[in-house]
């Protein structure tokens, strides 16, 4: 049974007074411990889908089923409780944290809100989380703006796994990082998936990264699904015009399908 089932999802914005479909009749599912990538150019609706799935914005139509329950029917305290199972990592790790926060506070919040550890127990849990994502425990006392971009994204991942979620939405989570750090973060994500059986909804415009981490891929264009399927197969032999264009625009893939 699938973990997340999105059916006929639609969201319209108004642009210059006219309704403009950001997401139009999109359906897909994510299985446990699987990585589904959403690919597409800017404005194809990738991030809107991420925000819809996380209930940060409300859809105009469609349904979202998460862990066997209607996710759109939840509200208030029930929704906040269920949010523990569905986490997110943002693109810009600096913007994703309160500029006044320390590393410890960022990791303390989810533990406190969901009652996962008592006050006296939390510092140990925070240290364990930092170790799990490959950071020194001494970093806990630092302010968010004092640590590097790669460390910050590791803290973001630590916050996402603090509540033991079954699904993490990664919205361009490695796009803002430089290449060497990007590889380490992807390794960490793969390792977490193997050990904790976490599923990822991996949003990216970079097909090279997608081929490295995703099992399946959905290619979007102007809010609609252009094609979908096994990540390696789709990237090796795209059928849609937009799929071909995306592959052609990725130098590492172009003319190098043998690897």
């Amino acid at each position: 049974m699938s973990l997340l089932t999105v059916s006929n999802l639609a969201k319209r914005y108004r642009r210059r007074g006219r309704p403009f479909p950001a997401v139009d009749d999109v359906s897909f599912e994510v299985n446990p411990a699987e990585t589904l990538a959403l690919a597409g150019p800017s404005g194809s609706g990738k991030s809107t889908i991420a925000r819809l799935v996380l209930r940060l914005i409300e859809p105009d139509a469609g349904s979202i089923e998460f862990e066997g329950a209607d996710f759109l029917a939840l509200s208030g305290a029930a929704l906040r409780t269920r949010r523990a199972r569905l986490q997110m990592v943002f693109q810009d790790p600096l913007a994703a944290f309160n500029p006044r926060a320390t590393v410890a506070r960022v990791l303390d919040d989810p533990l406190r809100i969901h009652g996962l550890a008592s006050r006296t127990e939390r510092p140990r849990r925070i240290a364990a989380l930092l170790e799990r994502v490959g950071l020194e425990t001494g970093l806990a006392g630092r302010a968010i703006h004092e640590i590097s971009g790669g460390q910050r994204q590791r803290v973001a991942i630590a916050r996402a796994i603090a509540t033991k979620p079954s699904l993490i939405v990664l919205d361009e989570a490695v796009s803002a990082l430089d290449v060497s750090v990007r590889g380490q973060i992807l390794e960490l994500l793969l390792d977490l998936q193997r050990q904790e059986r976490i599923a990822y909804l991996f949003i990216s415009h970079d097909l090279g990264v997608i081929r490295a981490v995703a099992h399946r891929v959905v290619i979007l264009e102007a809010g609609r699904i252009a094609e979908s399927g096994d990540a390696r197969a789709v990237i090796a032999n795209p059928q849609s015009a937009i799929g071909k264009a995306l592959v052609a625009a990725t130098p590492r893939l172009h003319g190098n399908t043998a690897s």
Partner: protein, 276 residues
């Protein structure tokens, strides 16, 4: 103390801080240096300044010590200015944060109330309020706050509107934080700096409004105020202008000092914001 260091970098900020320090020292020392009632008669009436060194700034129409009145007046001006500004900032920030964060009908209602207060000239509002309730220090503070909270409310709302769209607010929702906790833990602390930047303007305006109310005889009658001293001196303006000039200079210097120090604080925090 990097922040403090930055604050004292500009001569304006240093001048402002010196004036404010002097004012605070005057207010604190008033009852030590002039322990008696400042409104008691201390010598012959209308003694000009620098004639008698036991009464350096002379005496007024009734023979009261002008220097003692000036010191005790500093206390009133400072107390009213700070209390009114604190009240205005508190009301304004809470109203603005709720309006900006809640949106919809709550936002509409709160902002129309703010509009209503803003369309009435602030001084008229204070005047009307004090004439109805009766003059006392607390009423004067409330009257001034009533006309000054709209500015902070608007700034706080605008800041909150921009901050609530940031990723870290979305992040707080994703980890399941309660909306009230998001508003007051995540949004409000980051919306505060530009609101606090208004405080020097509000303190200065509050001191001037208090002086104007006292000048019109609507100040607390049991306290010496600079506005009241100017009003007293007005009747003998031709023969003894110093009675109006001395408290007038004190008022100008105080407002100037508050402005300059406020500018310094804004400057130093602006640097901090652009760094982070």
């Amino acid at each position: 103390m990097n922040r403090l260091h930055r604050f004292f970098r500009t001569p304006e900020a240093i001048a402002g801080a010196l004036i404010l320090a002097l004012l605070v020292a005057m207010a604190l020392a008033a009852s030590l240096l002039f322990p008696g009632d400042p409104q008691a008669i201390a010598g012959p009436a209308l003694l000009p300044p620098f004639q008698d060194w036991s009464l350096p700034l002379g005496t007024d129409r009734l023979g009261r010590d002008v220097l003692a009145e000036l010191f005790h007046g500093a206390r009133t001006s400072l107390a009213v200015g700070l209390a009114a500004a604190a009240a205005a900032l508190l009301i304004g920030t809470v109203v603005g944060t709720l309006a900006g964060f809640a949106g919809g009908l709550i936002d509409e209602v709160l902002m129309r109330i703010t509009d209503a207060f803003q369309t009435v000239p602030g001084f008229l509002l204070a005047l009307a309020f004090v004439s109805i309730v009766g003059p006392s220090l607390g009423v004067v503070v409330v009257a001034i706050a009533l006309s000054a909270w709209t500015g902070p409310a608007r700034v706080a709302r605008a800041e909150v509107l921009s901050i609530r769209e940031r990723d870290y607010v979305a992040g707080a929702r994703v980890i399941g934080m309660h909306p009230i906790a998001i508003a007051f833990r995540e949004v409000l602390p980051n919306a505060l700096p530009p609101v606090l930047a208004l405080s020097s303007v509000i303190v200065a305006a509050a001191i001037l409004t208090e002086a104007a109310l006292s000048f019109l005889g609507l100040g607390d009658p049991n306290r010496v105020t600079w506005g009241g001293m100017i009003a007293e001196g007005r009747t003998v303006l031709r023969t003894a202008p110093y009675l109006s000039i001395v408290p007038g200079i004190a008022l100008v210097l105080t407002v100037l000092g508050v402005y300059l120090a406020g500018e310094g604080v804004v400057e130093s925090s602006a640097v901090r914001r652009s760094l982070s």
